[in-house]
C-alpha cells in the first residue's frame, strides 16, 4: 500500500514536470489567438487582384549575362543590333557590315579568348575592319567577360541547323 502511494506520487510529479517542460505545452493548453480581421465594406472581394505575377518565370539570365546584356545594349547594339544579328541602326552605312553574332557557326568557331581579343583590341588589330573599335580601355577585362557571357546566350537562342 505504501509502496503504491509512493509510486503514484512520483508518477504524478514526473508527469507534471513533463507537461511543464513541454515546449508546445503553452499552445496545447491555451490555443492561439484569433487574428483580428479588419473588413472593408466598400471593397468587394472579387475586385482584388490575386494574380500570381510573382510566379512568372524569371528570365533565365545569370548575373554576368545580365550585366553583359546591359553593356551590349549600350555599346554594341548600335551596330550589331539588339539580338546581335548585325542589324543595328548604325550598320546601314557601314562597309563591311557588322558581324552577325548570333550565327551559330561563328559562335562555335570563336573561343572566349578570340572574342575577348577582338572586343578589347578592336577590329583593326585583329586584321578586321577598323570600324570595330577597341573597347579594352573602356570596359576592361571583367566587363568584356560579361559581354562575352551574354554573347553566348544570343547564339543559344538560334534553332540549330545542320
Amino acid at each position: 500500500m505504501r509502496k503504491t502511494t509512493r509510486i503514484l506520487v512520483y508518477l504524478a510529479v514526473g508527469f507534471g514536470f513533463v507537461l511543464a517542460w513541454l515546449p508546445a505545452g503553452r499552445s496545447l493548453l491555451f490555443g492561439s489567438d484569433p487574428t483580428d480581421i479588419d473588413m472593408n465594406d466598400s471593397l468587394q472581394t472579387e475586385d482584388i487582384i490575386t494574380d500570381d505575377a510573382w510566379r512568372t518565370p524569371i528570365p533565365d539570365l545569370g548575373y554576368r549575362e545580365r550585366e553583359g546584356r546591359a553593356l551590349f545594349r549600350h555599346y554594341c547594339a548600335l551596330c550589331h543590333g539588339q539580338s546581335g544579328e548585325g542589324d543595328g541602326f548604325n550598320a546601314y552605312n557601314l562597309d563591311p557590315k557588322p558581324r552577325d553574332l548570333s550565327d551559330h557557326e561563328f559562335q562555335t568557331a570563336q573561343t572566349d579568348e578570340d572574342l575577348a581579343e577582338v572586343i578589347g583590341g578592336g577590329g583593326g588589330d585583329a586584321g578586321l575592319s577598323n570600324a570595330m573599335p577597341p573597347w579594352g580601355k573602356v570596359l576592361g577585362e571583367r566587363k568584356i567577360g560579361y559581354v562575352i557571357a551574354y554573347l553566348r546566350t544570343l547564339a543559344d537562342s538560334l534553332p540549330e541547323t545542320d
Binding site: R6, V9, Y10, V13, F17, W21
Partner: protein, 243 residues
C-alpha cells in the same frame, strides 16, 4: 537579558545551535566541535548514520550532477567571452569548431536540467517521509536554500548563450523581480547593472553563475552533508523515534 533568553530559547535557535549558551567548559568545547566551519569533521557520529543503507540516492545523484556541472562548466569557460555579441558567437564556435564542444555543452545543459529535477524530487521525498521534523528542521531549511540556489544557477546560466530565448527569458524574469514590494525596482537595477538586459547584465550573470553561486552552493552543500552525518539521513528518519 530577557531578549537574549528569548532568542537562545527559541526553536529556531535551538534547531541551529544544539548546545547550551551558559559559559561552561562543555559548552565552550561544543561551540567549536558542533560548528561546521570550525570543525568540519564530526567529533561523534552515530554508527547508524554511516550505514550504506537502502535509499533513493537522490541526494547523491544531485551531488554527482553538481560535480559534472562544475567540471564541464570550467572547461566551457575556456571558449566563452561574457560580452555582446561575442557570447552568441562563442556558442556557434562550440557547435561548429571546437572539438567535443557541443558534447560538453550538452552535458552541461542536460546535467543542469537533471539537477533541478533531482533536487526537487529529493525535496519531495524528504517531505513525504516527514524528515523535516526535529532534529532535521535546520537541514530542511538549508536544503530549501540549496534548492533556491540550484534554480538561481539554472536561471543565471540561461542568459549566457545570449540568444533570443535567453534574452527574453531574462527580460521577463527580471521584470518579475519588480513585483517584490518596495525593493523590487532596486533589486532589478542591481541584478542587471542597469535598466535593460545588456552588456553589464551579461557580465553580472556570468560572475553569479560561474563564481558566486557555485561557491555559495558548495558551502551550503558542505553544511547540508555535515548535518546529515550528525542527524542521520532521510532513509533512517521515518518510523524511528528520536533518541
Amino acid at each position: 537579558m530577557k531578549l537574549e533568553k528569548m532568542i537562545t530559547g527559541s526553536r529556531v535557535w535551538r534547531s541551529i545551535v544544539r548546545h547550551g549558551v551558559e559559559p561552561t567548559n562543555r559548552n565552550r568545547v561544543l561551540t567549536v566541535v558542533q560548528n561546521v566551519f570550525l570543525h568540519l569533521h564530526s567529533a561523534k557520529v552515530r554508527r547508524r548514520n554511516l550505514e550504506f543503507s537502502s535509499t533513493y540516492y537522490l541526494g547523491a545523484v544531485s551531488l554527482i550532477l553538481f560535480a559534472i556541472l562544475v567540471g564541464t562548466g570550467i572547461v566551457l569557460m575556456i571558449y566563452y567571452h561574457p560580452s555582446v555579441p561575442q557570447a552568441y558567437n562563442d556558442m556557434k564556435e562550440l557547435k561548429f569548431v571546437v572539438g567535443s564542444g557541443m558534447f560538453l555543452r550538452n552535458m552541461h545543459r542536460w546535467a543542469a536540467h537533471g539537477m533541478v529535477i533531482v533536487v526537487f524530487l529529493h525535496l519531495l521525498r524528504v517531505f513525504y517521509h516527514r524528515a523535516y521534523k526535529p532534529p532535521r528542521e535546520f537541514n530542511w531549511v538549508v536544503g530549501i536554500v540549496l534548492l533556491l540556489m540550484t534554480l538561481l544557477l539554472s536561471y543565471t546560466g540561461y542568459l549566457l548563450p545570449w540568444d533570443q530565448l535567453a534574452f527574453w527569458a531574462v527580460s521577463v524574469g527580471t521584470n518579475m523581480v519588480k513585483a517584490v514590494p518596495v525593493l523590487g525596482d532596486r533589486i532589478r537595477y542591481l541584478l542587471l547593472g542597469g535598466n535593460v538586459v545588456g552588456e553589464s547584465a551579461l557580465l553580472r550573470f556570468y560572475v553569479l553563475h560561474c563564481v558566486i553561486l557555485p561557491l555559495a552552493l558548495t558551502i551550503g552543500v558542505g553544511v547540508h552533508l555535515w548535518r546529515v552525518r550528525k542527524d542521520g539521513s532521510v532513509a533512517g528518519s521515518s518510523g524511528r523515534k528520536r533518541g
